[in-house]
Every structure is written in C-alpha cells, then in structure tokens.
Amino acid sequence: MKEIVVISGKGGTGKTSITAAFAGLAKKCVLADCDVDAADLHLLLQPQVRERYEFSGGGRAEIKAEKCLKCGLCRQLCRFDAVRRPADGSSFLTVNSLACEGCGLCVHICPAGAIEFKPVVDGEWYVSDTRMGSMVHACLYPGEGNSGKLVTLVRSRAREIAAGNESDYLLVDGSPGLGCPVIASLAGSDLAVIVTEPTVSGEHDLLRIAGLTKHFRVPTVVCINRSDINPAVSDRIAAVAEAQGIKVIGRVRYDKAVTEAQIAGKTVNEYTDGPVAGEILAAWHRIIDLSEGKE
C-alpha cells in the first residue's frame, strides 16, 4: 500500500477536487480527509457514516466562582491571556475557552483549589463508506484546537483499514499552510503531491511547502492546477520545481466544469470527460508509474 498525501501550502488551489478525482481513478483505495478544520471531501463523496467517535484533544480550565478568592494569581501567570474579567463587570475571573491552551498551570497553582480541568470534546471523527472505498474523516468543532492530534488519529485509522483490506493506495487530503495539521498529515508518507497554481503566491508558497516535504524527507511531485491562467508563471514554477529535483506530474487547465462538478456533488472525472478530466487522468498515471518505480 502506498500512502499519497495531497497538500498545497496556499489554500484554494484545488487539493480536494484533485484528491477526489484521483480516488475515483484508483482501483482499490482508502481515503483520509485530514483537512479537519475545513473538511470538504464529503461534499463530493457523500459518505455513509459507519462508525462515529468523539475526539477530545485535551481540556480547558474552569473557575468555580463559589470557591474563588479573587486573588488573581491565575490571571497573572497565564501566558495565553485566557483568564479574563467578564464583560458583564462581575469581579469574578473567567477562563476564555478559545484562548485557553489547556496547560493546567492555573489548576495547579490556585490557592483555593477553585479551578477545575474539564475534558472537552473538540470534535468527531468517522469511518464511512463511499463509492470510492472506505473514508476516514473528521469534523473539528468550529474554533477548537488540537487539529494535529485529530489528523494523526484519522490517518492512523485510515492506514489500518488500508492495510486490512489490502488497498493499493491511501489517499490523504491535507490542509493548507505548513503548520501542525500539515506536518501531522505529511510525515512518513510515501509521496506528497503538491497542488499549486500559477500565481506569485502559488509559486512563493510552493517553495515553502517543498521545503517542508524535504525537511520530513517525503518524496515530492507537483501538479500545476489552472495552469493556463498564466502559462509563463506555470513554466517558471515547473523550472523551479525541476531544479529542486521535484517532478511536475501534470498541468491541469482552468475549467468551469470543476466548480460545476462540485455543485453536482461529483468528482471532475465523473462529471465530464473533457480535456480537464484527461489531464487529471494523465497526472494520476504518472503517480502510479512513480509509485511502481517505473520512472
């Protein structure tokens, strides 16, 4: 089984549309949606949820007003400015749950024992069936943290399933950026496919995300999406990538059919057999050849 992660650095370059199309082209695959704080793959694949689990990444501090001595030590020591005076003018301090990092220092130092550490459910994750195969996905409750932990959970369950049913591929839809959820979805993969676009920011962000895949020693290829928006920048991206030993596995044109497929809840290749689908298919064939060592 080969584990292929689709990432981008810059957001909105077409990761999810391309991952879904690849899934339809792969014969035996398992999917993992690791963009846990803005997951969209389910909109194209309509998963039937088979198993549902709660995710708790940690906990939050909570001050019990009846025990609080109002000494303010917690507020003084909290490095995350999470202990605040409430807006209603009350003299009791409260913990802002968005700012609370869950370190537990206030719980430990409170002289009155007035602060409790409450485990918090930060999200849910699911094992589902789709027409492409099994899919593991998650939903981080809006505004919650610990997305890296949730990504690790999703990925390891997807790996188990892929190993268990002898899948050829595990396709991982990553998140934008290069911080904790990206590192969690990338480290230890067999291949990273960077989806970029021919814009100055696409180019800039490609170099940073390629630096990250190099840092984690993950073999990397690039797919240039909407390549005809600016062919000159596409050529420049291709040259920069090749100079770093990164193969360009495909150029996919801008086509309104990609958005139309999204609206229809289908993958691009299910929706159309036009040239854009052919270009995605060609990119997928390059990935197969690379993973079978034919290149």
């Binding site: 981008s8 650095g9 810059k10 957001g11 909105g12 370059t13 999810t16 846990v36 704080d37 803005a38 969209d40 909109l43 020591l77 490095r79 995350f80 807006a87 968005l98 700012a99 990092e101 869950g102 370190c103 537990g104 220092l105 430990h108 130092i109 981080l140 809006p142 505004g143 919650e144 943290g145 997305s147 890296g148 998140s175 934008p176 950026g177 290069l178 911080g179 904790c180 959820p181 990206v182 590192i183 676009e197 021919p198 814009t199 100055v200 920011s201 800039h204 962000d205 940073r208 630096g211 990250l212 840092h215 984690f216 928006i229 600016n230 920048v233 958005t259 999204q262 609206i263 809840g265």
Partner: protein, 285 residues
C-alpha cells in the same frame, strides 16, 4: 480600529481583499497598517512590495534544567500536559518542540532548577509600503505552532489608525488567534459549495466572539440564494459582492493588485469601507 480578514476555506481572496482595502484606506488619507498573520504562508508582501526596515526573531520560552540544582522531584513532569518535560530516574529530559511555553515547570519547580530559554520559531518583519505601515510574520519551515508567532505580529500593530489583519485560513487555533481581539471581522468566501460550507463552519466558530461581522463574496457571477439565506440566518450582512473578473485573476497571478490593474475596484472597496463603518456603528449602539 482592527479589522481582521478571514475565511474558513483557503484561496477565497483574503489577501486580495486585505491588500486592496489597505490601499483604499491609505489613499483616502487614513493611517493604515497591514498585518500579515497568515504566518505559515505569508503572501501580502508579494503584492505590497514593502521596504522592510527591521526583522525580529521570535520564539517560545522553553525549559532548560540545571542538573546540579534539580532534585528529580518530578513535579514539572506531572504538571506538563504536553509531555515536553519528562523526569527519569537519573535525569530530566525536555522536548522543546512539544512545549507550548506556559512557563508552568519553571514557576512550580521547588528547587528553582528550571530557567526558560527562547526557542526561535519565526520572524516578524516591519516596514512600509508607500503610505502603508507593514508588519508580517513568517514561521520557520518545520515549525508546527503558529499561534505564538501570530500573537507577536498582533503585539506590534499600532493602537491608532486602522489595522487590517490578514488571517490564516481554517477555523482552528491559528485563525481564532488572529481574529480573537479585532474590532470588526470580515469573512471572505466564494459562491461554491466548498466556499459556502466553510463559511458556515467559520460563522459557527466566531459566533461567540463579540465583534460585529460582515461577509465579502468574491468571484461572484450571479445570484446565490443559498448563500444569502445562510448569511441571513446567522444575521451577518453581505457587505460586498466582488464580480468574477479574469483581469483581476491575471493581475493577481503576476503580483499586481486589483487596485492597480482594474479601475472599477476603487468603488468596490469604497463601498466596502462605508459598509464596515455603518455595520460597526449599528452593532455598537
């Protein structure tokens, strides 16, 4: 006034809106600062082309244990919820990448054996782009934690004038850190199923935040009843509808701003600014 520009989905046009709004405000004579808090992939400089005056390295305070002073009591290890400090039989091990910098171990150590040292995670640049103030954070490649760096960028924003905060995509801790303390929140999205779905996640994420919020629809090419209905349901006004325009996309691809490339954009951002002022006033009453 601090205005954060955010979106659940990436690539919807946050930076385009933030940069062009800045250019409009500066042109209108307001003291304006652009603050790039998308520290994992900061791109504002590609369009504003600022002159950088200073660069400051910044980091997370992590523990350094003095083995002579340490009596291996184990209190630090049992406090730390991130397993960043572990007490063994004969020594204490630290894992700086796991440390969130809460300072708890150093504070509670009965033997005063723990000092804190800075572990760099990125840098904060300051400069000017014409009349605009410019601040931008850039996370070092391989670093996982962006919120501490985002806070450092926000610390440098001025109290007076208008600051436009370009937030990272998503709905989790980095985005929440960037928008948490702003006075107005602009949510940028595009009229696609992904754009609508992720806007709803964002609207849920920011529901408990006190500041007024408005939506900017980007790349609009017709009415979108489902989007209008959803914004109505969350009681968030749509302040601007930016038409889909290949000229803008091409300008963006070259690192030009819509402001420079397309003359009609002045009105779009003038309207957006008056919409923000009116909406901020409405919520303040």
């Amino acid at each position: 006034m601090k205005i954060a520009v955010a979106s659940g989905k990436g690539g919807t046009g946050k930076t385009t809106v933030a940069v062009n709004l800045c250019l409009f405000l500066a042109d209108a004579g307001l003291q304006t600062t652009y603050a790039d808090c998308d520290v994992e992939e900061p791109d504002g400089h590609l369009f504003l082309k600022p002159e950088i005056i200073s660069r400051r390295r910044t980091g997370i305070p992590v523990p350094q244990v003095d083995p002579e002073a340490c009596n291996l009591c184990g209190e630090c290890g049992s406090l730390c919820r991130y397993s960043a400090i572990v007490v063994l039989k004969d020594r204490v091990m630290t894992f700086p990448e796991l440390c969130h910098g809460c300072g708890g171990c150093a504070y509670i150590c009965p033997a005063r054996a723990i000092a804190e040292v800075d572990r760099p995670i990125g840098s904060v640049d300051r400069g000017n782009a014409g009349k605009l103030g410019f601040i931008s954070g850039c996370l070092d490649i391989g670093q996982a934690m962006s919120p501490p760096l985002i806070k450092e960028v926000l610390k440098e924003t001025p109290d007076d004038g208008v600051t436009i905060v370009d937030a990272p995509p998503g709905t989790s801790c980095p985005a929440m850190t960037a928008v948490g303390d702003c006075d107005y929140l602009l949510l940028v999205t595009e009229p696609t199923p992904f754009g609508r779905h992720d806007l709803e996640l964002m609207l849920k994420a920011v529901r408990s935040l006190p500041m007024p919020k408005g939506v900017v629809l980007n790349r609009v090419n017709g009415p979108d009843a489902a989007m209008e209905e959803m914004c109505g349901r969350y009681d968030v006004p749509i302040l601007a509808r930016i038409p889909e325009d290949r000229l803008v996309a091409e300008a963006y691809s070259k690192g030009l701003t819509a402001w420079e490339a397309v003359s009609g954009y002045r009105t779009v951002f003038a309207d957006l600014w008056s919409g923000i002022q009116k909406d901020a006033g409405r919520c303040g009453e």
